[in-house]
């Protein structure tokens, strides 16, 4: 930590990584890891306390004792590392990180590698926490081999990341940077509202695909849990809320894109209604598959209010950013609060009212901001 390069890299890279991925990490934690840590199974009155404990830790024990479980555990670490490498490689290409190319590369390789290893270690903290838990539970239940190997695996992941980043920065003969030109879309119209959509295609494909995967997962889970209630407006409202929360990171990125690349947009003579219309079009395009899916499953009776709720909440999230600024922590608190409040109201079948209220609130916030 005393190393000046480490301090700078932590601020420029590690902090940025967590700011960009906090939402995803929290969602992943809530959806997957909570069950990994301890699986509660109802109606276990016939089991002894020892059996209940064994069953509760079943997943984590399997992850250090059975081949498939070990593969899944190691795979999570590898996937997380690959995602972080993808992020850092992109970050190093951004304009405000270019100083690293002509400053950090003057240091000896060993020093650079060490600094990057610390940074990658910090980025790997969530995985390290999970692995530590698996190690402790594994050792308590007398599985020795995998818990002993996990720290070595983590060191390898951190070392590989450090090596990759150091090579990226020190590459003296590099291929010319690929500019996101979207040559195939050169003759396509690009109205102002659509610019973020092109940005998604050019640079944010991974975020978009993860969002869609989260939507598919939540839709599948809810429809499997309530197979006979596909026309129940409350269930479709719940699906809509899950999809809207899944899109919260894309909404945040849309705000960030507007702030960095489109400040000139505020000098263009667009009226408030026009700006709101642009936001409606943008959010509709971002959530188009979900909107179509909701309308197809629930039709007019339940699908329309649910689709309206998805669109309204997405608009509201987008408008809230004008007031919170691009502060991920504040924004996520609002997203969680909004989700819980709307979830409760939706249980009373107020889906259509919530859709209207969210859209009106979004419009009101935008009106005041402009």
């Amino acid at each position: 930590m005393k190393n000046a390069l480490t301090r700078v890299l932590l601020k420029v890279v590690a902090r940025g990584f967590y700011q960009a991925h906090t939402g995803g990490l929290i969602s992943l934690f809530l959806l997957v890891f909570v069950n990994f840590f301890y699986t509660r199974v109802p109606n276990q009155a016939h089991l002894t306390p020892a059996q209940i404990t064994q069953s509760g830790f079943g997943l984590v024990i399997a992850s250090v004792s059975e081949l498939l479980g070990v593969a899944a555990l190691l795979g999570i670490g590898l996937l997380y590392s690959l995602k972080s490498w993808h992020y850092v490689a992109g970050r190093l290409k951004s304009a405000d990180a270019q100083f690293l190319v002509y400053s950090s590369t003057a240091l000896p390789w060993r020093q650079q590698l060490l600094a990057w290893a610390v940074v990658q270690g910090v980025i790997l903290l969530p995985v390290s926490g999970m692995y530590l838990y698996a190690m402790v539970v594994g050792l308590v239940f007398h599985h020795w081999l995998v818990p002993a190997l996990l720290p070595i695996y983590l060191l390898l992941l951190a070392g590989a990341g450090a090596g990759y980043y150091t090579c990226l920065l020190n590459a003296t003969v590099v291929k010319p940077g690929k500019v996101a030109g979207l040559a195939w879309a050169r003759h396509w119209p690009k109205p102002f509202f659509s610019l973020f959509l092109y940005e998604v295609i050019a640079k944010k494909r991974v975020a978009y695909l993860l969002t869609k995967a989260a939507s598919v997962a939540s839709v599948a889970l809810l429809l499997l849990a309530f197979p006979d209630a596909r026309t129940d407006v409350r269930v479709l409202g719940l699906v809509a809320l899950c999809c809207a929360v899944g899109h919260s990171i894309l909404a945040f990125q849309a705000g960030e894109f507007e702030r960095f690349y489109l400040p000139f947009g505020r000098n263009l003579p667009y009226g408030r209604r026009q700006v709101f219309g642009q936001q409606v079009l943008l959010c509709s395009m971002l959530a188009l598959p979900e909107l179509v899916g909701l309308l197809a499953v629930g039709q007019a009776g339940a699908g329309l209010p649910a689709a309206g709720l998805l669109l309204g909440v997405l608009l509201l999230l987008r408008s809230l950013l004008y007031y919170t600024g691009q502060h991920m922590a504040t924004y996520l608190r609002l997203v969680v609060g909004l989700f819980l409040g709307l979830l409760l109201a939706n249980l009373f079948g107020l889906t259509a009212l919530l859709a209207l209220g969210s859209a009106l609130a979004a419009g009101g916030l935008l009106y005041r901001y402009r």
Binding site: A180, G181, N267
Partner: protein, 210 residues
């Protein structure tokens, strides 16, 4: 022409600029001030890009109350322009020309005089900072602006482009009576340049200088 009333801009509770009342008559103005004095902030506020307390009116139109009509009359070029890198110069020009209600092919004169036709169809991600600056200047002249705001227009501009920009300003002022407000740390000399009146930002407020 441009009237600033009760203006106040704060960053994190610290007032960086306060202007009780200030009027710009039609003409060209060189806003001077030290680094961080608030020149860019003032230009961005006049452009309607950054929020502030108070009001700014151009030809009687308020930036807050008649925002659309106001923005059609005020154009702005940023000191360090940044655009989505997948857009081409042509696409940005079309976006601005349509939004600012400029005539078809209005940009041709500007592109030719700054010799930009060879690369204007390329994505702006391939542009150098000087090329981006030239594009931002072209965008600032599109439409029929009453007032053009140029923030550090000479930074990164090559020597050949400086007299061209001065000629544009003179032409624009002569033909359409457009006023200019520009901030620069470099001296703006040139026979073709309209007479510049100096205003300065001192002690967080705006004053006429000799």
């Amino acid at each position: 022409m441009l009237q600033i009333t009760g203006f106040s801009k704060t960053y994190q509770g610290r007032a960086v600029l306060r202007i009780e009342s200030f009027a710009f008559a039609p003409g060209s103005y060189w806003i001077q001030g030290a680094n961080g004095s608030g020149k860019s902030t003032l230009l961005q506020a006049i452009a309607g890009i950054t929020p502030f307390e108070g009001d700014i009116r151009l030809a009687g139109l308020s930036v807050k109350k008649q925002a659309v009509a106001y923005r059609r009359l005020v154009n702005f070029a940023a000191a360090e322009p940044l655009f989505p890198e997948f857009l081409t110069g042509r696409e940005l020009i079309s976006l601005f020309r349509v939004a600012k209600n400029g005539p078809l092919h209005q940009e041709d004169f500007y592109l030719e005089s700054l010799r930009m036709t060879a690369y204007v169809h390329e994505p702006v991600g391939t542009y150098s900072s000087g090329m981006l600056k030239k594009l931002a200047l072209v965008l600032a002249f599109l439409g029929r602006p009453t007032c053009i705001l140029l923030d550090e227009p000479l930074t990164t501009l090559d020597a050949e482009a400086v007299p061209v920009l001065c000629a544009w300003m003179a032409r624009q002022q002569a033909e359409q009576g457009t006023s200019f407000l520009l901030s620069s740390h470099q001296a703006l000399a040139g026979a073709a340049l309209p007479a510049l009146q100096k205003v300065g930002i001192e002690q967080a407020t705006l004053r006429h200088l000799g």
